[in-house]
Symmetry: C2
Subunit: 137 residues, 2 copies
Amino acid sequence: MRVSTRARYGVNAVYELAKNYDGDTVAIKTISERQDIPVQYLEQLIVKLRKAGIVNSMRGAKGGYKLAKHPKNISAWDVIVCLEGDFAPVHCKQYVDSGCEREETCAGKVIWEEVNQSVRKTVENMNFQDLLDRLEE
Amino acid sequence: MRVSTRARYGVNAVYELAKNYDGDTVAIKTISERQDIPVQYLEQLIVKLRKAGIVNSMRGAKGGYKLAKHPKNISAWDVIVCLEGDFAPVHCKQYVDSGCEREETCAGKVIWEEVNQSVRKTVENMNFQDLLDRLEE
DNA sequence: AACAATCTTGACAAAAAAACTTAGGTATGT
DNA sequence: ACATACCTAAGTTTTTTTGTCAAGATTGTT
């Protein structure tokens, strides 16, 4: 099990914007440099963040990005789900599609559902204001 | 983030053996059929389970596999880690290797470490006896 | 109005990982 | 001896992930 770099990049990018929440817009190139993310790859990710209402964009010279909401109101879950689709480690669909007809007696199902829930709970309870606070000691 | 089929297959295979803990050895072909896993792929997985001391093998005619311990003493964690290497969604190594020098101020680090811990806790607390009980209502 | 910085989009390519197959070999109960 | 079933290594195919390329649209600044 692993988290894709998409999600890692995304979290870092949003964190970078959170740091500048009270300031000017941040150009994509700036985020790219500070967080060490390939520019054009980051562009793809940030499109999703915009469509999800996490980020606002300003075009033209002096343009850039800003968080659409207060860091307190953006959770790690929001960002991750937005970039990874559903963050659940295992989708039941996989069992169904692969012909596992004994859904009710499937050991995996029990395990993965609990894992899904525990991951979700953990990540939902983590907002970017908290992260800022924790990293600014 | 997703769990590989390796881990899913592995859990199902061990569960199959857990069901037969008090009976005879189970041939790999039988496991394969009952859990719908490609035989020779399963062989690769079960080698690891054997080396990890989770499973015992008996060669020759009438051979097969048996759990090496009581189902109560085998956790989902044991099986998963054995097949996936470390189950942590994100290794800090990835940050270090990719040149992220500000380990101390990395938003991701905080998040992923909590995710790792919560996943680990969940899966460690789940043993195959419990699974048997829960699925035999 | 022209320019340059910046966002926007879609298609493509390279790389890595995962899943599965092939082809043999080895041990052992009957 | 022989059939059964485990054992191993190497290779192939497929899928997923990651990253690149190229061209376009928008808008503040001069």
